[in-house]
Amino acid sequence: MINPFAPIGRAVLAILAEIGRFSGFISRAVTACFTPPVFAGQFGRQCLQIGYFSLPVIGLTAVFIGAALALNIYVGGSRFNAEQFVPNIVVLGITRELGPVLAGLMLAGRVSAGIAAEIGTMRVTEQIDAMTTLSTDPFKFLIAPRLLAATLTLPVLVLVADIIGVMGGYAVATSTLDFNGATYLRNTFQFMEAEDVILGLIKAAVFGFIIAAVGAYQGFNSKGGALGVGRATTNAVVGSIVLILAVNYLITAFFVE
């Protein structure tokens, strides 16, 4: 007789085992971030790679989302004569939610995939084994710099995205919706609260950590040549997106309490 619960049990066990392996990986990676030796050059290179070179993607995303948001809020607001609240709601939506989430999702594609592919290729071509035999811990040399760089640069990127997003809304509001520029900006700043921005930046740091950790985990554990690296890359993107969205809800819910 086939037990109908057996496959479910197996799946649950597999997921639990994966969570266990991922936690072990994370704790080793975080320890590597805070114990010498520190590879400052590698950290600097990753800050450039992850932070600086993501600016165009982030800027473009933010300006279009800010503009679209302003239009939608105007349409929605005008249904109950509340169209003057466009600046207030644009800044709230961008700083608390859309800035960090969209930046996180864009970088899940750009950065998480890049890290998984690079580390995965190093794994399947034995470069990681070679590094170990050269007395250098791959967690310190490869993973810690990426983890730190992503966690620290994502908040900066999101701050930039916040500013550009608000400017996108401003541009649309003043050009097509007859808002007065000075009033728009005054309303934005008067309504905006430090808490909104800080919540967004905390989210950004957490998302940065997720992006680098999932990418590195998938790459580090990839096996089986080009096929394996391809699978690791896909898993990194899907995994970090799902985790970002879930964690975003949890952080938001926690702060709304």
Binding site: P37, F39, E118, T121, M122, T125, E126, Q127, D129, A130, M131, T132, T133, L134, S135, T136, D137, F141
Partner: protein, 254 residues
Amino acid sequence: MSTPKLQLKGIKKKLRGRQVLDGVDLSVDKGQSLVIIGGSGSGKSVTLKCVLGLMKPDAGQVLVDGADVTRMPEPVRARNMRKFGMLFQGGALFDSLSIWENIAFRLIYADGVSRKDARERAIETMRKVRLAPEFAEVRPIELSGGMQKRASLARAIIAKPDIIFFDEPTTGLDPITADAINDLIVEQTKELGCAAVSITHDMPSARKIADEVAMLYGGKIVWRGSASSIDHSGNEMVDQFVAGRAEGPIQAVV
């Protein structure tokens, strides 16, 4: 009797449900060159990985200068790595770094040597393996297979290890380049006075670099003897391997 430089005692390793290594015993003395032969998939690379700590054996000991490296705490084991040099089957050069940075990797990142001094030593080592200094700045991808092997060899010897491991150093090379690599291996290990453990299926290469030959089959060392005795080993499996026959006690897995 002095302690061997490297000794494997009863190494066992199961992978994907198959007992790949089933009690491997081996020892290598200081300055000795041992070649391990064996068919594809017989576990030669796995043996090296167990020795290097890249895989954890299920049972058994790996003694380096008499100390068991499989049960050492991580920092001590990492320090022990300094005694080892390894040339990987595929070269395993870091493709994001230039040739000289590859060769000097250990000096720069593990030993804290300044980049300037490290570069000088890398170029000096390149000369030893007959790699022209003008290749110092290029990426590994721009070099031919034979030149990549030379660069990997330079990376393995730059820190003057006590034991060097070679995983199929001549596979994929033309016979002339292969012979040049063999010559370099012999020359450099003699110069360093280090022990060498090599894996190969290439019999001319084995004859050239080995003091002793050991044959791995069925997860165990089934024969060991001096390189000169390999043609009259009295062991059917060794005879079959040396002659390269498909018929015999060893069945090819295809």
